[in-house]
């Protein structure tokens, strides 16, 4: 009996404890607040709720530049605004969304935007932007989902061929040898390969090899957006070309020469050429300041020019307390003047075409990257596509010993299954 009494006490205690705890939670986040009245935006009378901007920064230069731009807007508009660099952007955003108090403005990557849109986390403000016509069309397409532009592109990056000019001269190559097609690329890599140095090096991932696929005319998802076109003769051609270069050791993955990525392989002198984006400039300046290099456009494949295009956008949270202010701040951040300031600070390529000349002025030798904006292809934005790409990358690591057709077939199956599941 006494035991019974005790267990009753225990049950009551646990139950009341649990109730109390859930009640606590209910007060703050368990109600429907996120989908509620926050849509009305800031009050028209006062300047509005303070804004938080969360960025995934590449370094101090980027953080400082964005902070300065945000501070300038804050002073002008009277709205308190603050920029912060996240140490793990995706994770911090995930926590913010779950708790119902995400940052107002944040970098949104192409692989996560579909998930955010599906969850209703993003506030689509594309129709409120005034400078949309000035932005590169490829970037607008990337962030347009179901015919709605969700967010304004921050800036963009493309891939180009980076050449070590000292090695180039040492191998007896001249400007006339600069690769313009796959054949001359293979020849140059052959000539540059020595005992100490491999001709070409880039990471075993779709994010690099995709450029070759694009040059051959291949893609991952068809024009209609509902069929996977991974298993195509074009993609096979690209993978076969890369495999051939791997087989005759004129191309090596960075990990094989003790480097973490293409830039490190290139900077450390392990490779004479690499395929990387414009972020390589900062990395080389910081880590390998003595290296002299030249950037040229990716060589043409059988279907012409092709490269990969990377971009982020300024996402605005649906749960933001001051969406009006947030849109105004994004307008400011994507304006030509601020983008020129950012490009001067850390070398990113402005998303607006009108800043094109400014870029050439500041970085005349980086033109190859900017040219890529005209023909580059972005990463697929379908939700779950990054899992398929990650699997693709895993298989590309073993490309040297695997039949390219096997890889393409399995990725085709996965991608089609993903597209089918989207309905």
């Amino acid at each position: 009996m006494r035991r019974n009494a005790r267990s009753t006490v225990l049950t009551t205690l646990i139950a009341s404890g649990a109730l109390a705890l859930t009640a606590c939670g209910g007060g703050s986040s368990f109600d429907e607040e996120p989908t509620g009245d926050a849509t009305s935006g800031g009050d028209s009378g006062d300047p509005g709720a303070p804004l938080t901007v969360l960025i995934g920064s590449s370094g101090d230069a980027e953080t400082d530049a964005v902070t300065a731009a945000v501070a300038a807007w804050s002073e002008e508009s009277g709205v308190e605004a603050r920029a912060q660099a996240a140490s793990d952007l995706n994770q911090e955003l995930a926590q913010g969304f779950a708790a119902g108090n995400p940052p107002d403005i944040f970098y949104t990557s192409t692989d996560l935007i579909a998930g955010y849109v599906a969850a209703g986390s993003l506030y689509p403000y594309g129709d409120q932007l005034t400078n949309v016509d000035d932005v590169y069309p490829a970037l607008i397409d990337t962030f347009t989902i179901d015919d709605q532009l969700y967010c304004a592109p921050t800036n963009f990056s493309t891939l180009a061929l980076v050449i070590n000019t000292d090695s180039w001269a040492a191998a007896g190559l001249t400007d006339a040898d600069i690769p313009t097609d796959w054949e001359s690329l293979a020849a140059a890599a052959q000539a540059l390969t020595t005992d100490q140095q491999v001709g070409l090096s880039f990471g075993p991932e779709y994010q690099r090899i995709g450029a070759f696929m694009a040059e051959a005319g291949g893609a991952i998802i068809g024009e209609d957006g509902t069929t996977a076109v991974v298993d195509s003769p074009e993609n096979l051609e690209a993978l076969t070309f890369v495999k051939e270069m791997l087989a005759n050791d004129t191309l090596k993955y960075p990990s094989e020469i003790g480097a973490g990525w293409g830039g490190e392989a290139f900077g450390s002198g392990g490779a004479a050429m690499t395929v990387e984006g414009n972020w390589i400039n900062g990395a080389l300046q910081n880590d390998f300041p003595d290296i002299s290099y030249e950037v040229v456009e990716m060589p043409e494949g059988s279907a012409g020019k092709g490269t990969m295009l990377y971009t982020n956008c300024w996402g605005i949270a649906q749960d933001s307390q001051n969406k009006e202010g947030a849109v105004s701040l994004v307008e400011h951040l994507t304006s030509k003047d601020v983008q020129v300031a950012l490009l001067e600070a850390y070398g990113v390529m402005p998303s607006v075409q009108s800043a094109r000349d400014d870029f050439f002025e500041v970085y005349p030798e980086q033109g190859a990257f900017l040219e890529g904006g005209e023909y580059g292809v972005g990463l697929p934005t379908v939700q779950g596509a990054n899992d398929v790409i990650a699997d693709f990358n895993g298989q590309l690591e073993g490309l040297e010993t695997t039949d390219p057709q096997t890889i393409l077939s399995s990725v085709q199956t996965n991608m089609q299954a993903l597209l089918d599941s989207q309905g």
């Binding site: 225990l10 429907e32 895993g394």
Partner: protein, 383 residues
């Protein structure tokens, strides 16, 4: 965990005898005071353990998208959909989960027995009275355990890099070391390849389990995973050595002496006297090892993020990746719960295998006397 659950069972008879005297007179308020004292712990455990676990269980059967509370009315119940996707779907999710299970199973298979044997061996070594500088060796062996796993992982990344110290040492021996952290070949496949088996037999590739062919299941840990296996053994054997030292010191000198008087050799003394006496500790070490190994995460997160070619992907890391990188919260939670199930089942199985039966000691004594009577040369055969 399981040790704790067996303790109340043993003490309960004692408690029930004492019960009548309880709850009356001056001791009447003891129960209330007891609850008062443990209530902070209950609240903390409830808040940070029980409630999150219950919420995760709900997330694993819901379509929560990561926005707002998982308990909001907009979140729907999807039943076992995520579990089905992971185990029976046959798609990429199943394949990833199967790969993660394969990697981790090999990891457990190689790490747990090795670390147990090694830590017992080390403990026996440093427990000897005659060993000079015992304190130094104990500290040295224990040191990796108190070092942060992130720091050790980074150290290993350097040691085992393509041009790192390990490969430099191997080069001195004219061995061309592999590129450890980017080599996705399975160790078993490499060994089979060395004896000329390059192609899998048809029956192994034709069939499979969880979207992975049997040939893939049998690949063994990749070279990259092998480094993590070596690292886990290196870091954990010191911790478990400490447990074994404690157990060995509890073995009284008289027992050892009696065995000596009976004419046991050093080896026999270890097998038939010391080992049975540290058996509960072996059980503890095995259980802790099993749980720890199935939850391996920080090394992967710091080191390889699942690469090369997903051969260091583990369920714990997959759960993180699905949730935080792909925003598939339901799937991530489902992975965690399947992992929980695996750990529980494994622990129960191991408990059954290693349990102490009341009849065993008698039979063993009988076997031992008979064996040692007929021949002293194969004392280890029984175990």
């Amino acid at each position: 965990m399981s040790n704790g659950s067996s303790a109340p069972a043993r003490t309960s008879p004692v408690r029930s005898q004492r019960k009548p005297s309880r709850g009356s007179g001056i001791r009447g308020h003891e129960a209330a005071a007891g609850w008062l004292f443990i209530s902070p712990m209950i609240v903390i455990l409830g808040l940070f353990l029980v409630i999150p676990i219950l919420m995760a269980a709900w997330v694993s059967v819901s379509d929560w998208s990561g926005r707002g509370s998982p308990l909001a009315s907009t979140v729907g119940f999807v039943g076992a959909e995520h579990y089905g996707e992971l185990t029976l779907g046959g798609g990429l999710a199943t394949q990833d989960f199967g790969t993660a299970l394969r990697n981790n199973a090999w990891y457990v298979l190689l790490v747990v027995p090795t670390q147990t044997v090694l830590s017992l061996f080390l403990a026996t070594l440093v427990n000897r009275q005659v060993l000079k500088g015992r304190g130094f060796f104990r500290t040295a062996f224990f040191f990796p355990s108190v070092t942060s796993s992130v720091a050790i992982t980074v150290l290993f990344l350097f040691l085992f890099s393509a041009s790192g110290a390990v490969n430099a040492a191997l080069a001195r021996l004219s061995i061309n070391g592999p590129n450890w952290f980017s080599d996705s070949r399975g160790v078993v496949h490499i060994l089979l390849g060395a004896v000329g088996v390059d192609q899998a037999p048809g029956f192994l590739t034709a069939n499979g389990f969880m979207a992975l062919s049997w040939w893939q299941w049998l690949s063994g840990p990749s070279v990259a995973m092998s480094v993590f296996i070596i690292m886990a053994i290196f870091t954990t054997s010191g911790t478990f050595m400490l447990l074994f030292i404690a157990a060995l010191q509890a073995v009284s000198g008289e027992v050892e002496e009696a065995a000596l008087v009976d004419g046991c050799s050093g080896w026999q003394r270890f097998w038939f006297v010391t080992l049975p006496m540290v058996r509960p500790t072996i059980f503890t070490v095995f259980t802790l090892g099993l749980i720890g190994c199935w939850q391996v995460f920080d090394q992967i997160y710091t080191g390889t993020q699942g690469g090369p070619a997903k051969t260091t992907l583990t369920p714990a890391y997959l759960s993180y990746q699905a949730s935080f990188e792909s925003a598939q919260w339901g799937r991530g939670a489902a992975v965690a719960f399947i992992l929980f199930g695996i750990i529980v089942v494994m622990t129960v199985i191991q408990r059954l295998v290693l349990r102490e039966r009341d009849t065993v000691p008698k039979r063993k004594r009988f076997v031992f006397s008979e064996r040692s009577g007929e021949s002293g040369t194969r004392p280890g055969a029984q175990l």
